[in-house]
Structure formats: structure tokens, C-alpha cells
């Protein structure tokens, strides 16, 4: 099967390094603009909620962060899988970069969720909420991946072993998600799902979606930023890196 040229270029570290170097700043600008617009809209312009009053405004960050954290795991698993099957080191680099970003976003989702839960549910943490449980398990999946990576001295082994874990994990993530939802459906009690609104008013929907775009762009920005450092680290002893650093003040 003849692969297009850009496919091969995407496996070339110097090419991706330079491409990321050009694209990342723009993504950064887009991210900041979207965050500013969405944040202002959500915090200032959008009207208070009928039920939750002002505190619902966490709606403009919490679900977005949670969604991106799951996306980060999927990106990580796909990249690791590609790296494992086709032996593309750069793909492993993407996975290694996505992992800490995803882990921090997952932790952030849990924190913002807890801060939202206290004034609305009365408690910071409710074990029986399916989203909390899902997200907590996702955090452990990220931490397990990072721990496994760190345990190997040989980077190549670390890449491939953790790739297997990531792929098994990504198969398990939907299973975990639905099993937890099923588990919770048996506890019909007071735990109302956060997004259990019959409909979301358009004045809230627009900033909500802007923030979805903002955090997605943010993840891509952070990924490309982190990938550059990862590439330099991995390619430290190659000629093109030598030439790169020789061009700067030594």
C-alpha cells in the first residue's frame, strides 16, 4: 500500500518538531481568546440559573475539562497503539506527552466537580455518583500508565509495555463507564446527575460550547508544546538536534 508523503513526514521527528513549533503558538492564541470570550460570557453575560443560581457557572469549565480528560486518554491509547503496531517512535512520544496532561486534567475535573458538589449537593464527594467514580478510575488508569512508564529504564521497553496497558485500558474505559452508570441507576436516591437538565437555555449553551472548543484547543496546544520537549529529549544524540542547538548560543 503506497502511503502518501505526509504520512511519512508525520513520523519524522525534525519535521514534526518544526511544524509543532509553528502551529503551537497559534493554538495558544486561539486557546486564550476562546477561554477569555467563553469565560467572560459564562461568568458575566449568562444569566443566573433558575435552580442553582450563580454557582451553576462551573458548568462552563467542569464538563469540558472532564470531556478533554477522556479524550486525552483516547489520544494517548491510539498514539501508543500506532507506535506499537507500526513501530513509530514519535507516536510513543505523543502518548507519553498526552499522559501527564490528561492526568492533570482528570484531577482538575475531580476538583472542580467537588467544588461544584459542595454548594449544590451538600457534599464535596459522593462515592455513588457514577461520574465521580468513572473519573476517579480514569485518574488511576493515567497514574498506572505513568508509573509503568517510569518503572522501565529502557525507553523502548517502557514505550511498548505501556502501549499495551493503554490499549487494554481504552477498551476497558467504556466498559467501566457503562458499568458505573448501571450501578448508579440502582441507587435512585438523591444523586442527581449534574447535566440532568431537561434543556439548556441558548444563553448558556453558547458559552458552554465555546468553552468546549476552548479546552479542546487548549489540549492540542499543550500536547504540541509538550511534544517538542519530548522530541528533543528522545532525539538528544542525533545530528539534527546537534545542529539545532549549535545554532543557538552554546
Amino acid at each position: 500500500m503506497r502511503l502518501p508523503r505526509w504520512f511519512h513526514l508525520l513520523g519524522s521527528p525534525p519535521f514534526v518538531y518544526r511544524l509543532a513549533g509553528k502551529v503551537a503558538p497559534w493554538l495558544g492564541v486561539v486557546t486564550c481568546v476562546l477561554l477569555a470570550v467563553g469565560g467572560y460570557w459564562g461568568l458575566v453575560v449568562a444569566p443566573p440559573d433558575r435552580v442553582q443560581g450563580e454557582v451553576y457557572r462551573v458548568l462552563f469549565i467542569h464538563p469540558q475539562i472532564a470531556y478533554v480528560s477522556v479524550m486525552a486518554y483516547v489520544v494517548m491509547a491510539i498514539a501508543a497503539g500506532i507506535g506499537f503496531v507500526w513501530r513509530i517512535k514519535l507516536a510513543h512520544g505523543v502518548a507519553a506527552t498526552a499522559a501527564p496532561i490528561g492526568a492533570s486534567f482528570t484531577a482538575c475535573a475531580l476538583a472542580t466537580g467537588a467544588l461544584w458538589g459542595r454548594p449544590t449537593w451538600g457534599t464535596y464527594w459522593q462515592w455513588t455518583d457514577p461520574r465521580i467514580m468513572s473519573e476517579t478510575l480514569l485518574l488511576f488508569l493515567f497514574l498506572g500508565y505513568l508509573a509503568l512508564r517510569a518503572a522501565f529504564e529502557d525507553r523502548d521497553k517502557a514505550d511498548r509495555v505501556s502501549a499495551i496497558l493503554a490499549v487494554v485500558g481504552v477498551v476497558d474505559v467504556p466498559i467501566i463507564h457503562y458499568s458505573v452508570i448501571w450501578w448508579n441507576s440502582l441507587h435512585q436516591g438523591p444523586s442527581i446527575m449534574k447535566l440532568d437538565k431537561p434543556s439548556i437555555s441558548p444563553e448558556m449553551l453558547t458559552p458552554f460550547l465555546i468553552m468546549v472548543a476552548a479546552f479542546t484547543a487548549c489540549f492540542c496546544w499543550l500536547l504540541l508544546n509538550g511534544l517538542r520537549g519530548e522530541i528533543v529529549e528522545r532525539e538528544r544524540d542525533t545530528r539534527w538536534i546537534r545542529e539545532l542547538v549549535a545554532g543557538t548560543r552554546g
Binding site: 497514574l143 509495555v161 466498559i175
Partner: protein
């Protein structure tokens, strides 16, 4: 099927030679299930309520204990490489080792569960459902434990992180298994979660050995 049963019998025989080691998971199981009432000081009703969860979690934790015997001891003395070089497909070898792990580690636990369940004031009527759920859930558990062992086989102190790697993946087993048991406890039909457990077992037994074989190849090279 001959290579399969050969490997299973080999592992069983090796385990019987070091019987005290093979009994570790069972002893751990008994100790842990003893610690909970000690820590909780529960009334009879409270005991019954926590019994399901305690026994299931203890099963999960105890199954981690036989990790060393799965792959590491074979890797240490070179027999794992021999097995990998043999004409038997690595997936079959892996399945055989999982079967041996299940027979040696899990089956004794499940045999002990009825007695412990009764000690936790659980009615005898729940036992068929509970044991059934355990029988359906534990093959997947063995697969996941084997995966953890294979991923860390190249590491000197891999045992430390295996819990972190494997236990989150077992969450669905825990959920469906305990819910099935609870249904049995309240005389409700438990078919739903039991079928789901069976589906997970089929999925993991079919796909697990592939991942485990891949992990072994990376770890042993």
C-alpha cells in the same frame, strides 16, 4: 489440547512442591476477611450488609498475591523463554497458565467463600448466586492479573505497581459481581449482571492472551 493440559499440570505440580507459597493467597484471604469485623465492630445486620463487598474486594486483592508464580519465576530460570520458543502458540501457553492460576489460587478461595459468607451472617440462599457470580467473574480476574504480571515481568520490583495497574481495570467485575450477589440477597433475579459477567469473561479470554503474549515478548527480550 495436549500442550495446554501439559502446561496446566506442570504449573500445578510446581505449585504443590511449594505448597506453603501456593497457600498464601488463601491465607491472605482468610486474614483480610477476619480483619474487617475486627475493624468495624459491626452488628449482625451491619455485617450482612458489608459481607458482599468485603468478600468481593478480598477476592480481588488475594488474587494479586499469586503474581510471582505466574511468569516471574519462570522468567528467572529461563523456562519462560523455552515456552515462548516452543512451537506451541504463546496464546495457548498463556491461557494454560491462566487456567493453572485460576485452579490454584481462585478455586480454593471460591471454595472457602460459602463458609465465610455464612460467618458474615449472610443467608444460605444467597450462596448459589454468589458462587455463580464468582465463578463467572474470576476468569476475567485471572486474565487481568496475568496481564499485570506480564507487563511487569521485566521489572525487578514490578509487584509494587501491579495493584495500581490491575485493580482499576477490575472495577466492572466488582460492580456486576457485587450487584448480582445483592440481588441474590434480596431474592431478586440476578440474571442481568451474571450475563454481563459471562460476556466479560468471554471477551477477556478471547483477547486477553493476545495482549499478555505481546507484553511477555517485550518483557523477556
Amino acid at each position: 489440547m495436549a500442550p495446554f493440559s501439559t502446561i496446566v499440570l506442570r504449573d500445578v505440580r510446581i505449585a504443590f512442591r511449594r505448597l506453603s507459597e501456593a497457600a498464601n493467597p488463601l491465607l491472605f484471604f482468610m486474614v483480610v476477611t477476619t480483619l474487617f469485623p475486627l475493624a468495624l465492630s459491626p452488628s449482625a445486620d451491619e455485617l450482612r450488609e458489608v459481607g458482599t463487598g468485603v468478600l468481593w474486594v478480598s477476592t480481588l486483592l488475594s488474587s494479586l498475591l499469586a503474581l510471582e508464580g505466574l511468569f516471574r519465576s519462570d522468567a528467572d530460570d529461563g523456562s519462560l523463554e523455552q515456552l515462548m520458543l516452543s512451537p506451541v502458540p504463546l496464546g495457548i501457553t498463556v491461557l494454560a497458565k491462566i487456567a493453572a492460576h485460576w485452579l490454584l489460587t481462585i478455586l480454593p478461595l471460591i471454595a472457602l467463600v460459602p463458609i465465610l459468607a455464612l460467618s458474615y451472617e449472610m443467608p444460605a440462599a444467597v450462596l448459589p448466586t454468589m458462587v455463580g457470580a464468582l465463578l463467572l467473574a474470576t476468569p476475567t480476574l485471572s486474565v487481568l492479573v496475568a496481564l499485570g504480571a506480564a507487563l511487569t515481568v521485566g521489572l525487578r520490583r514490578g509487584g509494587a505497581i501491579v495493584g495500581l495497574l490491575v485493580l482499576p481495570l477490575t472495577a466492572p467485575l466488582l460492580i456486576f459481581g457485587t450487584r448480582a450477589t445483592e440481588f441474590g440477597l434480596h431474592d431478586e433475579p440476578a440474571a442481568g449482571p451474571l450475563y454481563l459477567l459471562a460476556a466479560l469473561a468471554a471477551l477477556s479470554l478471547a483477547l486477553g492472551p493476545v495482549a499478555i503474549a505481546a507484553a511477555l515478548r517485550v518483557g523477556v527480550e
